[in-house]
């Protein structure tokens, strides 16, 4: 019984990490109607960047995070304005193909610079501490921290969208880019900011990933897939749905892993496919997929 609760809890908390990955993806699709195929690779890039800075400057990983996240946000803004904005239009192919190219470039660049070995960040005692919940059940402090971060980020974004001038601009640009211009909104800049935020969140996700486990340069695509699955399971257009989706995925993977080591990831995929067949709009859909 404890084992079952343990598995469930682990899965739920893993969902927090997946939700962080998924949020950036959901944001860029929500505002720009664009999926960044290199989304996972940017997370891995931030992780390796953090690893390099920690190794080079010997700083505490959390301090490095405070440096890396804004740096990645800036990179995201630049990438959107200089490259990705040129691909936006009626055709869905250019942004997908360009970001696919980015994915290949990043993976191989990381491989050239860092070799194919895996790296990780040392979380110190945080990585091993656990909180006892009674009844013989305990949860790791790090997974709890990650889940707390995910909830905080989602709450902040919800507030941003619902109550701020920028959030309204995001919604306007997403609803109707032409009329948004008539309101005085500079779409190119707004998309840049959206990508900067998405990139900051994904940098945080990559950072946590490296704290939790080893990362390898070619892991990006897998991360993209989990993010994507979390978004679809949760339902398009719903930020909190993304958290739910992440948790469903996390639990599916956790349960599968418990049954057979080779079935962890596969169970996640199968759960995704099942939701796709049974409830194609996800668990908490808010918008129709256009």
């Amino acid at each position: 019984m404890t084992a079952a609760i343990d598995t469930l809890l682990q899965g739920l908390l893993l969902g927090g990490l997946y939700a962080l990955f998924a949020t950036g993806l959901a944001l860029s699709f929500g505002v720009m109607r664009m999926i960044n195929i290199a989304h996972g690779d940017f997370a891995i890039l931030s992780a390796f960047l953090a690893v390099a800075v920690v190794a080079g400057l010997g700083l505490n990983p959390f301090v490095v995070m405070i440096l890396v996240v804004p740096a990645m946000a800036l990179l995201g803004y630049g990438l959107q304005r200089l490259v990705l904005n040129r691909t936006l239009g009626k055709d869905i192919m250019p942004p997908l193909l360009v970001t696919f190219g980015c994915s290949i470039v990043i993976q191989n660049l990381l491989q050239e610079i860092f070799s194919a070995d895996t790296r990780s960040l040392d979380a110190g005692s945080l990585g091993t501490d656990s909180l006892a919940l009674g009844g013989g059940v305990a949860v790791g402090v790090l997974p709890l921290l990650i889940m707390a971060s995910a909830v905080a980020v989602l709450a902040a974004l919800q507030y941003l969208f619902a109550r701020t001038r920028l959030g309204r601009a995001f919604r306007a640009a997403s609803d109707d880019a032409t009329t948004a211009q008539l309101m005085g909104i500079d779409n190119k800049h707004v998309y840049g900011v959206a990508m900067a935020i998405a990139m900051a969140v994904v940098a945080l996700a990559g950072f946590y990933l490296a704290l939790r486990a080893n990362v390898s340069p070619s892991e990006g695509p897998a991360r993209l897939i989990y993010a994507f699955e979390a978004v679809i399971i949760g339902g398009l257009g719903s930020l909190w749905g993304t958290l739910a989706g992440g948790m469903v995925l996390g639990v599916a993977q956790s349960v599968g892993l418990r049954l057979d080591p080779g079935w962890g990831i596969l169970s996640g995929h199968l759960a995704f496919l099942a939701i796709l067949v049974l409830r194609p709009n996800g668990l908490f859909p808010k918008t129709r997929d256009r």
């Binding site: 195929i37 490259v83 997908l96 193909l97 360009v98 994507f228 796709l276 067949v277």
Partner: protein, 337 residues
């Protein structure tokens, strides 16, 4: 001016020349086992199956409007049909090739049923998930060699080397040429007009009675069949099948690169793109991962600045069409009066 005086024609001078050249090239390829040397044959085999793969991706994306980053699912499937029928059941590997296509086509049916619930970019990532599912399912089962794979040399052991190489080449010629001709034929037919219409505007096409759904199904299944057959052929040449290699994203990377560089949505594009890809690969062969980085960067640059690819650019500039798919109106001399 009455209707009788307007002629509808298809061929151009370029296309007539190309047709003759094409036949000559085919004769040269097929006869290569008698005059060519081994390494040249292997290269040509690889060239031709790459063209076949690219045409399959082109069919999906350029005409069906379905962007897939998961065709490696069917390439890998073809490889494992080779394992099942060639290795385990002892069937002649070259006969397995069409069977691999059949199996891939059958599996494509339920796959499409699930995937078509997604659209656009989501469909693309969905295809990737499917490929991953296939890979993991096979990785987890030891009867297929598990994660480390197995050798299929057994399948060709009884075939003399000359026949092995020649049959491989002939199959590659057959696949490359038929993939190209199939795409060409499809586009010449009224299905082609329908496909172009779907690509240009789904709602408009469907309001004209074009069955968008049926076209997407057809294109998806044909592409799966093609990729399956090529998959079986590829692993006859490689002789070792592992899930990593069979379901590798690299297949999609190559298809994508070739079609983007060559020209999406044209019949000639994948051929031009494959040529460029092979040349680049030769030039950059000593640089390890840098060669993939260069491919990625070139694809990005092309997508940003030359979205119609090399062939798209050239055919617009010089009005060249080697595989004419449009119909042109030609007014008779008389009618011009």
């Amino acid at each position: 001016m009455s209707v009788n005086e307007i002629q509808i024609e298809r061929s151009t001078r370029a296309s007539n020349i190309a047709a003759i050249l094409g036949v000559l090239l085919l004769v040269a390829f097929v006869s290569m086992p008698w005059w060519g040397e081994r390494s040249g044959q292997r290269l040509l085999t690889e060239f031709l199956y790459t063209v076949a793969l690219a045409q399959m991706w082109n069919l999906l994306a350029g005409y069906g409007g379905l962007l897939s980053v998961g065709q490696q699912a069917f390439v890998g499937l073809g490889a494992y049909v080779l394992v099942a029928l060639g290795l385990h059941a002892g069937i002649n590997p070259f006969l397995v090739i069409p069977l691999a296509g059949l199996v891939a086509g059958l599996i494509a049916i339920p796959t499409a049923a699930v995937l078509f619930r997604l659209r656009g970019a989501y469909f693309a990532v969905g295809t990737w998930v499917v490929a991953e599912v296939f890979r993991l399912l096979i990785s987890n089962s030891s009867s297929w060699g598990g994660g480390s794979g197995l050798s299929v040399t057994q399948t060709v052991r009884d075939i003399p080397v000359w026949w092995r190489d020649s049959l491989t080449l002939w199959c590659a010629v057959a696949l490359g040429a038929s993939a190209t001709l199939l795409v060409y034929w499809l586009l010449r037919s009224r299905h082609g007009l329908a496909l172009t219409a779907v690509r240009d505007s789904e709602p408009a096409a469907s309001s004209l009675g074009v069955s968008v759904q049926r076209i997407k199904w057809f294109v998806y299944i044909v592409s799966a069949v093609g990729c399956g057959m090529v998959g079986a052929l590829i692993f006859i040449t490689k002789l070792r099948v592992s899930p990593e290699a069979a379901f590798s994203l690299d297949w999609t990377t190559v298809m994508l690169f070739v079609v983007v560089i060559g020209g999406i949505g044209t019949v000639e594009g994948p051929i031009v793109g494959t040529l460029v890809y092979f040349v680049l690969r030769e030039l950059l062969s000593n640089y390890g991962s840098w060669y993939l980085i260069a491919l990625g960067l070139i694809a990005i640059l092309f997508m940003l600045w030359i979205p119609r690819g090399i062939w798209g650019l050239m055919s617009a500039r010089f009005d060249l069409r080697c595989f004419p798919v449009q119909r042109r109106l030609r007014l008779d001399e008389e009618a011009k009066r």
